[in-house]
């Protein structure tokens, strides 16, 4: 079969047009892909902003919690000690030397206790700076604060395999979660025993806090502040790429487990 010149021209022109479709589709695809890339970059920037806002909020909350603790301690503890000192000193009868000496000694003892309490408060005044000492140490300070109330028997087990260099942002958020759990225990659990375990394995930090309190139905979280507190724990764990599991049932205490990629 003879091919005419016209047919060849048409064929080559047609093939050229078909070949031109390739770069046309390519350019269109790159435009679409680039738009997706733009959206992804914007989302990443938004997530970074949310993270930074959350860090700032957490920092404020830790400071607020510290100020509340200090306020309560000044009122309930140091204030009482100083009032008692003042009363003791006022009740001294100088003509009864033996009794006066006893009361002066009691006053000295009360003053020394006040000084000791003030020192402890001084540590707490550092507030969020506690986290700079490292997460295990910050939790230890919080534990000793709780123990001082005499209402709780606390078992704290910081793992030996925790990384030496932590992650300050994550430490702050985990520390705030610990504070939040302690708050829940104080306000709602009526617990007497608390255990805290901090472990590190497979690049994850695992925090487990257990209490023997009244417990609650974990499947239907209570509304109001208590429910908000638990939601906050979940939300905060998610912000640093982790997850929180809350296991509890009425009368059987509760267990909160947080697992976070660390450091």
């Amino acid at each position: 079969m003879q091919i005419s010149s016209k047919e060849i021209n048409s064929l080559i022109t047609f093939l050229t047009i078909v070949f031109l479709l390739a770069p046309a589709f390519l350019v269109a695809y790159i435009f679409v892909y680039n738009q997706r890339k733009k959206r992804h970059i914007e989302e990443k920037a938004q997530m970074k902003l949310t993270f930074e806002t959350e860090i700032a909020k957490t920092q404020l909350e830790v400071q607020e919690q510290t100020m509340q603790t200090i306020g309560a301690d000044l009122h309930d503890n140091i204030g009482q000690l100083l009032s008692l000192t003042s009363l003791t000193l006022n009740s001294i009868e100088l003509d009864n030397e033996a009794k006066a000496r006893q009361k002066i000694n009691d006053s000295i003892d009360l003053t020394l206790r006040s000084i000791k309490e003030m020192r402890l408060l001084g540590h707490l005044l550092q507030g969020d700076q506690l986290v700079a000492l490292g997460l295990p140490e910050a939790i230890r300070q919080e534990v000793s604060w709780m123990e001082r109330s005499g209402r709780y028997e606390i078992l704290y087990l910081p793992g030996e395999d925790l990384p030496a260099a932590g992650n300050p942002d994550k430490d702050l958020i985990i520390f705030r979660i610990v504070q939040e759990i302690f708050n829940n225990i104080i306000k709602h659990a009526a617990a007497t025993q608390i255990s805290i375990a901090l472990d590190h394995f497979d690049g994850h930090l695992k925090l487990t806090m257990t209490d023997n309190g009244v417990g609650f139905n974990a499947d239907s979280l209570p509304g109001g502040k208590a429910g908000m507190g638990l939601q906050n724990i979940r939300k905060r764990a998610a912000i640093i790429g982790g997850e929180a599991a809350i296991i509890s049932s009425p009368g059987e205490g509760s267990r909160v487990t947080i697992s976070i990629p660390y450091p």
Binding site: I3, S4, S5, I8, N9, I12, T13, L15, T16, F19, L20, A22, P23, A24, L26, V27, I30, F31, Y33, N34, K37, K38, I41
Partner: protein
């Protein structure tokens, strides 16, 4: 004189003027673009003049092939180097073209057009362009493509190379058979040149705007 200026040459002159105006403060590979376009104009006018005077003009386009290969490879080298330092393959590609060019010139003589070298060169430029686009979309950095000069420069080059490959392949491998003469090659190249110089001119303007906004 007017006979020497075809639509194609008029477009090349216009693009050269645009390049000279908008790339006058450039450095690096962009600065070389007006030079390439100026040489393209000279080659095209010479080629046309020889054709009008019924003289063979393939040797002019053979010289131009070296210029084109050098300048386009340099530009690709510059563009790709902004993403990766691994650009040795462009050097190897250039070396391969030189060997092929010498081989084709020796075997067919300098007066016959080196169309195999040209086809291979076009395929290489397509590969460079595709690789550049791959690096562009793989990069973490976002560029507004509608005003991003390298994107339009590569797009113009890709359109031209893709479009030229078909007629070149015909010319290279089929025209020697007993097939009829393919006469619409010239008009296809005219359309491809419109696309190429249109995209390139736009990229030069984008480059100028980009430079102005940075300054």
């Amino acid at each position: 004189m007017i006979n020497y200026i075809s639509l194609n040459i008029a477009m090349e002159i216009a693009t050269t003027v645009i390049a000279m105006v908008f790339l006058r403060y450039e450095s690096g590979a962009w600065k070389k673009m007006p030079m390439l376009l100026l040489m393209t104009c000279v080659v095209e006018i010479t080629g046309r003049a020889l054709r009008i005077n019924k003289e063979p003009n393939d040797w002019v386009y053979n010289i131009y092939l070296i210029i084109e290969a050098f300048f386009i490879s340099t530009m690709y080298r510059y563009l790709i180097s902004s993403f990766t330092s691994n650009i040795r393959f462009i050097g190897f590609g250039g070396l391969f073209l030189v060997i092929l060019y010498i081989f084709e010139t020796i075997s067919r003589g300098f007066s016959a057009y080196n169309d195999i070298t040209e086809t291979v060169m076009l395929v290489l430029f397509i590969c460079y362009g595709l690789y550049y686009y791959y690096l562009l979309i793989d990069s973490e950095i976002y560029h507004k493509l509608s005003a991003y000069p390298p994107f339009w420069w590569v797009a113009g080059t890709l359109f031209f190379c893709f479009g030229s490959v078909v007629s070149n392949l015909y010319y290279t491998f089929l025209s020697s058979r007993a097939w009829p003469l393919f006469t619409s090659r010239y008009s296809i190249f005219n359309y491809l040149n419109i696309i190429l110089y249109g995209f390139w001119s736009y990229s030069f303007i984008c480059r100028y705007r980009q430079r102005k906004s940075i300054a």
